[in-house]
Amino acid sequence: MTQAEKERVPIEKGFFTIPRDPSEPPSLLGTRCRSCSEVFFPRRKVCAKCLSQDTEDTLLGPRGTLYTYTYVHVPMFGTSRTDAQGYGVGQVDLPEGPRVQAVLSGGAEDFRIGMELELQLETLRENRKGQDVVIFRFRPLAAA
């Protein structure tokens, strides 16, 4: 496919990367404490564990293990969307340490605790500049 790629922008800056190649998974933007080596998502200036301010940016993901999940059968809170047929929510353990809570891509029967998932970007809408506004999700790796 040689279709021209639309520019993609994050729903909120500072949480994930947007790779130039849309087939590449994104990374999450995290923080590593230089003093005690603890890793956090999202980014923070002060280490939550040892309180050191000697912290550095680090990239996390794109893979993790499903710690727990649920499938929500009622429409999303606060949205005017009527297309909601339910959605998965999970907590994903990244090998670097952080546990990330996020919406999961897939159907009600697609998840089990301990499975491997991969980050992906999902387009939410097009903004006024014609760019795609994207957010990160986790999807079961088998469904890739």
């Binding site: 729903i11 999202p42 564990k49 649920t70 929500v72 999303m76 606060g78 949205t79 929510v89």
Partner: protein, 385 residues
């Protein structure tokens, strides 16, 4: 003066539920005046007030306090999500314990049914936000699913807790939900699925309401209501999260389970009592699976034995350690700001022996627990003297 020299002088609340034709001010006034009457005091006797609500404009609490009269008393706003009411209670108790005043009032009010959920533009609201999935059922369901995975807990266990609390509500005239029949496990399981494994009947309703407690010096309790058993505050612990590996920062979360365990330990130490000394407990059962976890985290059984405690019937009225005797958040209701003060209302009635058909025999020490926004926990102990 110490905390244990502080007594609950009076309590008052209006029945939680949908109060479309009653204003927030009217609800708050009803609860406050009832509590003053219960204490045998007038508003002029109140030295300080602590008002709790989760939503509303700045100064709302001070404006509402004007309903009781303008006496110049200091008013402080408190907001700690679901834990708001108990934290207002805690501040009022400490205002008396510190000697700042002889009588303090804690008042919580809320109209959750009018909560502005926004159009998806607000932070943390809706799917299209970086910290999305605000639906509380979802993140408490994550906890339930993990427990089922680790311990073999079944949805029937959660349903049994929900049915128990619905049936407790039937014995409480101030409960929102007062079923006209005995609610069964299968009925709870058959109600619509919200977030697996939690069904609608395993969740608290959306409520309006107000509740109030009057705290004062112990000797005042003796003087004002000599015929009544005295109810003393023997512990009030409040904690936020302590960092543990695997902590989840983004999105509304349940918070680490250790938060309740640590806060409870602090409360027991403060009071010099053990869980075995406690006669009844009220906990944050916004969703039924939470109560199962708190059996263990509050120290009423070893870790992993929650299901056993439940199956023995220990936590229902008549059992060894009845939980949520007034129906809990699931039946009595959970308007937010006033929820913790409704717990204090129930503990005061139980410890005085005035709880009617749901009276716990020889209730001596009562526990009130709430978590708020997955980020705070408070455990309070009251004792009959």
């Amino acid at each position: 003066m110490k905390l244990e020299d502080v007594a609950v002088l009076g309590v008052g609340m209006c029945r939680f539920g949908v109060h479309r034709d009653t204003t927030l001010t009217e609800l708050a006034r009803e609860a406050g005046l009832k509590a003053l009457e219960d204490a045998g005091l007038g508003f002029r006797d109140v030295g300080e007030a602590f008002v709790g609500y989760m939503q509303g404009l700045p100064m709302l609490g001070i404006k509402i306090m004007k309903e009781f009269g303008l006496t110049g008393l200091p008013v402080t706003h408190v907001e700690n999500a679901s834990a708001t009411g108990l934290v207002a209670f805690r501040e009022a108790a400490h205002a008396v314990a510190s000697g700042r005043c002889d009588v303090a009032l804690a008042l919580g009010f809320e109209k959750m049914t009018e909560m502005a959920w926004g159009g998806g533009g607000g932070r943390g609201i809706g799917r299209d936000a970086i910290d999305s999935v605000i639906l509380p059922a979802a993140f408490f369901a994550l906890w339930a699913m993990r427990r089922m995975h680790e311990r073999g807990t079944r949805p029937e266990h959660f349903a049994r807790i929900a049915a128990k609390n619905w049936n407790h509500g039937a014995k409480n005239p101030l409960s929102h939900r007062q079923p006209d029949h005995k609610v069964t496990v299968s009925e709870v399981l058959a109600s619509p699925m919200i977030a697996e494994p939690l069904t609608a009947m395993m969740a608290c309703p959306v409520d309006d309401g107000a509740a109030c407690a009057i705290l004062g010096r112990r000797d005042l309790a003796q003087r004002l209501r000599p015929e009544r058993p005295r109810v003393s505050v023997i512990a009030s612990a409040l904690q936020t999260e302590t960092y543990t590996p695997g902590h989840t920062f983004l999105g509304p979360v349940v918070g680490p389970a250790s938060m309740t365990r640590d806060t409870a330990r602090q409360a027991y130490e403060q009071a010099g009592v053990d869980p075995s000394d406690v006669s009844l407990a009220l906990c944050h059962d916004a969703f039924a699976n939470e109560e199962l976890e708190y059996y263990e985290l509050l120290g009423f059984c070893p870790e992993g034995d929650g299901e056993k405690l439940l199956e023995e019937g220990a936590t229902q009225l008549g059992g060894r350690i009845p939980f949520n005797t007034d129906g809990g958040l699931i039946a009595r209701g959970h308007p937010g700001g006033p929820t913790g003060l409704a717990q204090i209302h129930e503990l005061a009635l139980q410890l005085r022996g005035e709880a009617g058909p749901r009276q716990v025999a020889n209730a001596r020490i009562g526990l009130a627990h709430l978590v708020g926004g997955g980020s705070v926990c408070t455990v309070n102990l009251l004792k009959r003297n």
